[in-house]
C-alpha cells in the first residue's frame, strides 16, 4: 500500500466521527436482529437503515475530509508525486476506511444472524455503496473551492438518490401504469446506486414473491447470473465514472 494511503488511513482511524459511525451501525444492526426473532424481518429493517445512513455518511464524511485536506493536497502537489497518484491514494484511503467501518459495524451481526450467502451479498452491497458515494463526494468536492457549496452539492446528490429518485420512479410508474413499462423500470433502476443495491438484496429475500408482475420481471433479470453481474458492474460504474471525472478535473486544476 502506498504511503499517502497509509497516512490517510491512520489519520481517519483516529477520527471520532468514524468511530461514532461504526458504533451507530453496530447499534442499528444488533438491535434489528435481536428485537426480531425472524432474521428475514431483521434483515429488512437493517436494509432500510443501511441504505439511508451508509450513503449519507459516506458522501458527507468524504466531502468534508477532502476540503479539510486541501492543505495536505497542496503540500503534496509541490513534491515529486504524480497528481493522479495523490488523488487516487486519498480516494483509496477514504474508501477502505468507510468500507471497514461498515464491515465492523454491520458486518459482524450479519455474519452471526443471517446466512452466509446473505452476509456476503449485504456486506458486498454495503461496501460497493460506500465506495460509490465516496466517488460521488470526490465529484462534488472538486468543482468548487467553497466548502459550504461543496457540502451542499453532496447533500443534494444524496437527497436525490435516497429520496427524490424513488419519488420520481413512483410518479413514472403511476403515469405510465397502462403501458408495459416493466422492462423500462429495470433500466431506470440502474440510474441510482442505492436502488440497484436495494433490489439486488430484496430479490434474495422471500418477500420478493409479493412484488407482483414487476417483481417477476425484476427477478427474471436481476435473478439470473448475467443480470446480477451486470448490476454489480453498474454499481462499479457508479464508482468509476464520478471518480474519473473528478480525477480529470483535479489534474487540470490550479492549486
Amino acid at each position: 500500500m502506498n504511503r499517502i494511503t497509509q497516512f490517510v488511513l491512520t489519520d481517519i482511524f483516529r477520527n471520532k466521527i468514524m468511530i461514532a459511525y461504526t458504533a451507530l451501525l453496530a447499534v442499528f444492526s444488533w438491535s434489528a436482529f435481536t428485537l426480531e426473532n425472524n432474521s428475514q424481518k431483521g434483515l429488512l429493517t437493517l436494509l432500510n437503515i443501511i441504505l439511508l445512513t451508509v450513503p449519507l455518511v459516506s458522501v458527507l464524511f468524504s466531502t468534508i475530509y477532502i476540503y479539510n485536506s486541501s492543505e495536505f493536497i497542496e503540500l503534496l502537489v509541490s513534491q515529486p508525486i504524480k497528481r493522479g497518484k495523490i488523488w487516487f491514494s486519498i480516494f483509496t484511503g477514504l474508501s477502505i476506511s468507510l468500507a471497514l467501518a461498515f464491515l465492523l459495524g454491520a458486518g459482524v451481526p450479519l455474519l452471526l444472524y443471517a446466512s452466509i450467502g446473505m452476509f456476503g451479498l449485504v456486506a458486498g452491497m454495503g461496501v460497493l455503496v460506500s465506495v460509490a458515494f465516496t466517488a460521488i463526494a470526490f465529484f462534488s468536492a472538486i468543482f468548487t473551492r467553497d466548502k459550504a457549496k461543496g457540502i451542499g452539492i453532496s447533500v443534494l446528490l444524496w437527497l436525490y438518490f435516497a429520496l427524490l429518485f424513488d419519488g420520481l420512479v413512483l410518479f413514472l410508474l403511476f403515469q405510465f401504469a397502462d403501458y408495459p413499462i416493466e422492462n423500462a423500470m429495470v433500466f431506470i433502476t440502474a440510474l441510482s446506486p442505492i436502488d440497484l443495491a436495494r433490489i439486488l438484496i430484496l430479490l434474495q429475500l422471500d418477500i420478493s414473491a409479493m412484488m407482483g408482475y414487476t417483481g417477476a420481471i425484476f427477478k427474471q433479470f436481476f435473478g439470473t447470473a448475467l443480470g446480477f453481474s451486470i448490476s454489480v458492474l453498474l454499481l462499479c460504474l457508479w464508482t468509476a465514472i464520478p471518480f474519473a471525472l473528478s480525477l480529470y478535473r483535479f489534474q487540470h486544476k490550479d492549486l
Binding site: R3, F7, D11, N68, S70, D254
Partner: protein, 237 residues
C-alpha cells in the same frame, strides 16, 4: 537550467502572465520583484506545476515539465504562506515528506533544523504555530533534500530578524555551491548582497531581466532599490 517560453496564464478575466520568456541558469541567484499581483507567485507555481499555464512551455534541463513530476525532486520550494494539515505535529509533517521523497536519511540537510532549534518544537501541532514558526518549517522542508534549484516565495516575510539572517546565510551557502536560486521579495535592501540577477515584473509581463552588476553600471547607483526606480524612470521616458 530553466527555460520559460511564451508563458501565458489567465485567471478568469485577469491575465496573470503575459508571454513571459525567461532563461534561468544554474549558479545564479535571481530576485523576482514587482508590485503585488504582478504574477510572481503564479510564475513560481507554474515552474512547480502547481498552476498549469494556458500557453507556452517550461523546460527544466531541456525537458518540458508538462505532465512530468520527477523533476520536482530537484526543487526546494518555500511557499509564501505555508499551509499544513492542522492536526499534524511538526515532526510528523517533516517525517511524512521524508517518507514520500524516498530520500536517504543520512544525506538530508538538517542544518536549518538545528539552527532554528526545530527539535524543541517538534511535538507542537501545526495549528498552534505562529506565522513565523510555520515559515521556519517551510524553510526546513525546502532545504532538507539538497535540491539543485530553490524557489523561495517571500522567504523572509514573517520571520524575526535573527531567523531571517539565518535563512540569508543559508541561501548564501547554497549559492556558493552553484545552485540556482529564485527569490521573490519586497525587501530589496535585504537582497543587495545576495542576488546576481534581477527580474522585474509588472501586470504579468517581464519589464527587464538583467545582471545586478550591469544594472549598477547602467544607472550608477549602488543600491538595488535605487537602480530599479532609476530603470523604471528610464523606461517611462
Amino acid at each position: 537550467m530553466i527555460v520559460i517560453e511564451n508563458l501565458c496564464k489567465q485567471f478568469g478575466k485577469l491575465q496573470a502572465l503575459k508571454n513571459v520568456n525567461l532563461t534561468l541558469s544554474a549558479g545564479a541567484c535571481i530576485a523576482l520583484v514587482g508590485p503585488n499581483g504582478c504574477g510572481k507567485t503564479t510564475l513560481m507555481k507554474s515552474i512547480l506545476g502547481m498552476a498549469l499555464p494556458d500557453k507556452g512551455t517550461i523546460l527544466f534541463d531541456g525537458k518540458d515539465i508538462k505532465n512530468e513530476f520527477a523533476y520536482r525532486s530537484r526543487i526546494g520550494y518555500m511557499p509564501q504562506i505555508g499551509r499544513y494539515p492542522d492536526n499534524m505535529t511538526i515532526k510528523q509533517v517533516i517525517d511524512m515528506i521524508k517518507h514520500l521523497r524516498h530520500y536517504p536519511e543520512n544525506q538530508t540537510d538538517k542544518d536549518l533544523i538545528t539552527r532554528y532549534q526545530i527539535n524543541d518544537l517538534a511535538h507542537k501541532r501545526m495549528s498552534t504555530l505562529s506565522g513565523g514558526t510555520t515559515q521556519k518549517v517551510s524553510a526546513v522542508l525546502a532545504f532538507l533534500f539538497n535540491p539543485d534549484v530553490y524557489i523561495l516565495d517571500e522567504p523572509t516575510a514573517g520571520l524575526d530578524p535573527i531567523a531571517a539572517e539565518i535563512l540569508k546565510d543559508k541561501i548564501m551557502e547554497e549559492k556558493a555551491k552553484g545552485k540556482l536560486i529564485l527569490i521573490s521579495s519586497h525587501l530589496l535592501n535585504e537582497l543587495d548582497e545576495l542576488i546576481t540577477e534581477l527580474i522585474f515584473m509588472q501586470d504579468g509581463e517581464v519589464l527587464f531581466h538583467k545582471k545586478t552588476d550591469d544594472l549598477r553600471n547602467e544607472t550608477g547607483e549602488a543600491k538595488i532599490s535605487k537602480t530599479i526606480t532609476n530603470m523604471l524612470k528610464k523606461q517611462m521616458s
